[in-house]
């Protein structure tokens, strides 16, 4: 067997593959969603961060019935009213067999925002709503908006295939081939 030449070629090819994998983005549809002020907002996007625009959305309410239906806008976004508390199952259908779904929990309290604002002075010191001044409330809302944006960006990053997954997969394939060849050589010997 010309094993040494094989190994050389294989090594070069793997190196090339790993290098091109570093600039990698790819393709799978994801959904991000949150409830706020009596509405549920969802955003569909592909693994490379591109919005999933014009995708069909179906929403099943807490009782399992279809409560809303529509199509995402140019940014992959869609929202629907969710007055009844409970869990809403949101299914997104992009074209070509790309589907995904998430469950968004809508809390009991419709006045979520006011209560959350009460916590601004620190954890556990939830004061009456009226004690919060308007600028404070405004600053807090801005903070939450920024955090939501950050979480969304992080999620997009986490959902991309990582370097370790790529190398792990390649290692698995090499291992399988090695194990098979080892078995075959033992049989021969």
């Amino acid at each position: 067997m010309k094993m040494s030449r094989y190994t050389g070629n294989v090594a070069v090819i793997f190196l090339a593959l790993v290098l091109c994998a570093q600039v990698a983005v790819a393709h799978k549809v994801n959904l991000f969603g949150y409830a706020e002020g009596g509405f549920v907002y969802v955003e569909g996007y592909f693994t490379d961060g591109a919005p999933s625009m014009g995708s069909e959305v179906e929403v099943y309410g807490p009782k399992g019935a279809l409560v809303a239906q529509g199509v995402t806008d140019g940014d992959g976004r869609f929202f629907f009213p969710a007055e009844t508390p409970g869990s809403y199952r949101v299914a997104l259908k992009a074209s070509m067999g790309h589907v995904t779904e998430i469950v968004v929990e809508v809390g009991e309290n419709k006045r979520e925002r006011e209560v959350a604002a009460g916590g601004s002075s620190g954890v556990g010191t939830l004061g009456p709503v009226s004690a919060v001044s308007a600028p404070e409330l405004y600053a807090l809302e801005e903070k939450v908006a920024r955090l939501t944006k950050e979480v969304r960006a992080l999620r997009k990053q986490v959902e991309k295939p990582g370097f370790s997954q790529i190398v792990g997969g390649l290692g698995f394939i090499i291992g399988m081939a090695g194990a098979y060849l080892w078995g075959a050589s033992r049989k021969k010997g």
């Binding site: 994998a21 790819a26 591109a50 919005p51 081939a177 060849l181």
Partner: protein, 212 residues
Amino acid sequence: MHISEGALSAPVLAAGAAVALVGLSIGLKRLSPEKIPQVAVLSAAFFVGSLVPIPALFYPGTVHLVLNGLNGLVLGWAAFPSLFVALVLQALLFQYGGLTVLGVNTAVMAIPAVLAHLLFIRLVRARSHRVAWVGGFLTGAFSVTLSATLLGGFLFFSGDSFSEAAAMAVAVHLPVAVVEGIVSGFCVGFLRKVKPQLLGIKRSFKMEETQG
């Protein structure tokens, strides 16, 4: 070009699994230990090929390299096990596709691969480099286009309207077909120079060529 979990109906999933099983058993039966390194390398190429983005037409975002034609061209029926392993890993590690749709995705990828081998291997083995390059190009372009059509077909049998699903799938993958054809063409040219045995070309043939 991976169908997600939950996009297909049960009979379609079962049909895909049956096709994949038949292909896998034929592929494994014909697999010799000498071929294992090739199977592994091409499996790895397919595994990471899906991470190479190509801008799509009429579609937000990108589609990716497929490389199933090249896989089939070199491996023939062994493309089934090779692509199957890569698809399992993509499903587990990248969450592309899914375990229940594995059969369908294997069929979508491997059927065109095997067909490309049967159709174009002669061209690729031809004496003329130009003919071989064209053979490589056709391998890449043909297999991606057929894969997209099969994907549309599977979606159709699960209730999507065929004209929409298939036309969409094929249209979106047109740039991929072109890129894939070019990549496959150059890969064939490279293999003919460096490792013609991989394409089933004997050494003596290469000698003749350089003399003539």
